[in-house]
């Protein structure tokens, strides 16, 4: 936990510094008439102090022996694959359209945990895409992009 707290403390400290500087640029106004950056300056200032406190507390603690690795031994590659696929989907969905892009997405997502029966993967992807399209687009009037191929 020690290393994790040190790392996260530093991360939030850097976030707080960035927000603090931007708040100053936005203008904090006067106490009688606070400006746009007043509240965020205060919030980021306290966040910075607390992040520093977390970092220092973690640094002086003796819990080193209890530290557990963040990723090793876990199926984190699956997570990275899913994240990558989701990111690509977000970009290409307006171009390819909902039906086509969602079918591809669902095929990959089902395939991640079920690699033996490919026909089942295709069938589940096809059905989930089609049903979600009819429920959300036709029934609930959500507006999905048609994309290049009009799908």
């Amino acid at each position: 936990m020690k290393t994790l707290d040190q790392a996260s403390g530093l991360f939030w400290l850097s976030v707080s510094i960035a927000v603090f500087i931007e708040s100053l640029r936005l203008g904090i106004g006067k106490v009688q008439n606070p400006g746009m950056g007043f509240m965020t300056l205060g919030a980021s200032g306290i966040l910075g102090i607390l992040s520093l406190a977390l970092f220092i507390r973690a640094s002086v603690s003796r819990e080193e022996g209890k530290a557990r690795p963040l990723f090793s031994g876990r199926l984190w590659k699956r997570v990275l694959l899913v994240l990558f696929v989701l990111s690509v989907y977000s970009i290409v969905m307006p171009m390819l359209g909902y039906l086509l892009s969602t079918f591809i997405l669902m095929t990959i997502l089902f395939w991640v945990l079920e690699r033996k029966r490919i026909w089942l993967v295709f069938m589940a992807s096809f059905l989930s895409t089609l049903i979600s399209y009819f429920v959300f687009s036709k029934w609930l009037n959500c507006q999905f992009p048609d994309g290049l191929f009009g799908l």
Binding site: M39, T40, L47, L54, L86, M106
Partner: protein
């Protein structure tokens, strides 16, 4: 005296009016869908009540705000019920509010008493939900009238108190919870400034001028991050296999559980009103109280029916009671209520003391729907327990792509822009990291919603006082609320309170 008060307030007329609203076909349907979806969400891992509400919210845009709130409320207390099913049958709580039910519920199931455990959980939830509804009707209206006299300093202090209580009750580190609340305030400030109308922290991105959307934020922090965490593990659930019979508890069961249900309902209701209390903490407190006053405390953890009845009553009572601060003061006391708050804003309704007066159909319709929903939960769920057991057996390899798809659709359909998908994925990764590094999402969400109101109240207060911060201490309500918040913050420094917090944490573990 009481009758004359009721007459003056048009109390019974209002209740009848509420039932007229609730029994309109669309509202009736939404109530039914809400409790069904809520139970489903409670049974399934990976999406949670906040995610489910965020998912269905865009679909309600063409319906009235009353229908929307009835749907969301149905999901909320349906989840409390569904969570108990997994706790009893699988020993895995569907939701955080059902964690404690595992202790005795699963033991009862192993002893061949899954039926009575499920039955008493359902009836306890029903009775507690009804008691909470009565409390809601009696407390919310007078509180809303009283709140009309509150000004910006009181609102600022009350919101500060709410945020501090949420961080104080954090399951992990208080320091990290406060940090998350501050991050939430910063996130809430993204977009146009309320007073000057100028953009801030938008980095030139047009989509950010309206701020970060609550739906992609909630979907990311709660939905996507949980899926990513689950994907790292191999999730195999061992569902209780013996047939479930005798769902109606015996007279002996009732005799043992009746006072536990009453006490759980009262504790849940009182804690539910408090900011941060909600449905999560009250089951722990009620279980601890029940064990403390029991003549046979050694039975707890080994299949005591009181150990199921009390927490299940408490979480449902708290779910109903947490509507009080939202509907009477306009202050959401927990992240779920923050979504209710956002739903009202999206539908053009400003939550606050005037809500009950200006939108009686919404308030009384919602109150009546709580009665209806509780009854529906009993009618639908006990006979359908076999279906929920089958749902429990759906493998995660089928569930997780579907939950991800629902999250994507929910985030996209809010504004029909794929920028919201980027936002959701970003917060999904952030939420995943937060889980790994021991941070909680609840204070962040609540602060994100309260942040703009908090800032507005602070700036207005300072304008009124011409820059003097003493305005928060010279007004009695503000001084008490702020004083309590400061006391809670400082209490973390005292060994006695730190020891109590540690014990509470160990109890939850």
């Amino acid at each position: 005296m009481a009758c004359s008060v009721f007459k003056a307030m048009g109390f019974f007329d209002n209740i009848l009016y509420g039932f007229q609203v609730t029994f309109q076909p669309v509202n009736f349907l939404f109530c039914g869908i809400g409790v069904l979806v809520g139970t489903l969400v409670g049974v399934l891992p990976g999406i949670g009540p906040a995610g489910a509400m965020a998912l269905l919210l865009p679909a309600t845009f063409k319906f009235s705000p009353t229908s929307t709130l009835i749907l969301l409320a149905g999901i909320y207390y349906g989840v409390q019920y569904g969570g108990s099913t997994t706790s009893i049958l699988v020993n895995i709580p569907g939701e955080a509010s059902s964690v404690i039910t595992c202790l005795d519920g699963y033991q009862m199931a192993r002893q061949g008493r899954a039926g009575p455990a499920l039955g008493i959980a359902a009836w306890g939830s029903f009775i507690a939900g009804t008691i909470a509804n009565l409390g809601l009707m009696f407390v919310a209206v007078p509180l809303a009238y009283a709140a009309l006299s509150l000004g910006p300093p009181e609102y600022f202090s009350l919101m500060c108190m709410g945020l501090v209580i949420v961080t104080y009750l954090a399951q992990r580190s208080v320091l990290k919870a406060i940090m998350m609340a501050l991050v939430g305030i910063i996130l809430g400030s993204i977009g146009l400034d309320l007073i000057t109308g100028l953009p801030r922290f938008t980095f030139g991105i047009n989509e950010l001028t309206d701020g970060v959307g609550i739906i992609p934020l909630v979907m990311g922090l709660f939905g996507i991050s949980e899926i990513l965490e689950n994907l790292e593990e191999s999730l195999e659930r061992d569902v209780f296999k013996a047939p479930i019979k005798n769902l109606w508890p015996s007279l002996k069961d009732w005799a043992q559980a009746k006072w536990a249900i009453v006490r759980g309902s009262i504790i849940g209701f009182l804690l539910g009103i408090l900011p941060g209390g909600g449905a999560v903490i009250s089951p722990f407190v009620s279980y601890a109280v029940e064990k403390k006053i029991s003549k046979n405390p050694e039975k707890f953890g080994k299949g005591a029916i009181e150990g199921v009845a009390s927490p299940e009553s408490a979480n449902n009572a708290a779910a109903g009671a947490s509507l009080i601060p939202l509907l009477s003061l306009g202050i959401p006391p927990n992240p779920i209520m923050a979504i209710f708050f956002s739903a009202l804003i999206i539908h053009g309704i400003q939550p606050g003391p005037l809500l009950i007066k200006q939108h009686p159909d919404l308030f009384w319709g919602l109150v009546a729907s709580l009665y209806l929903g509780n009854a529906l939960l009993i009618v639908l769920n006990l006979p359908l327990i076999g279906i929920w057991v089958k749902v429990l057996k759906i493998p995660y390899k089928i569930l997780f792509p579907l939950i991800l798809l629902f999250c994507l659709i929910g985030a996209y359909s809010m504004n029909n822009v794929n920028f919201d998908l980027y936002v959701m994925i970003f917060f999904g990764v952030l939420g995943w990291g937060m889980r790994k590094f021991g941070y909680e999402g609840a204070p962040l969400i609540l602060a994100y919603v309260l942040g703009p109101m908090l800032e507005n109240a602070l700036r207005q207060s300072l304008l009124i006082s011409q820059g003097s911060f003493w305005i928060f201490m010279t007004r009695p309500i503000s001084a008490v609320a702020l004083g309590f918040a400061i006391f809670l913050l400082l209490s973390n420094l005292f060994p006695f309170f730190r020891k109590r917090r540690r014990e509470y944490g160990e109890f939850k573990e």
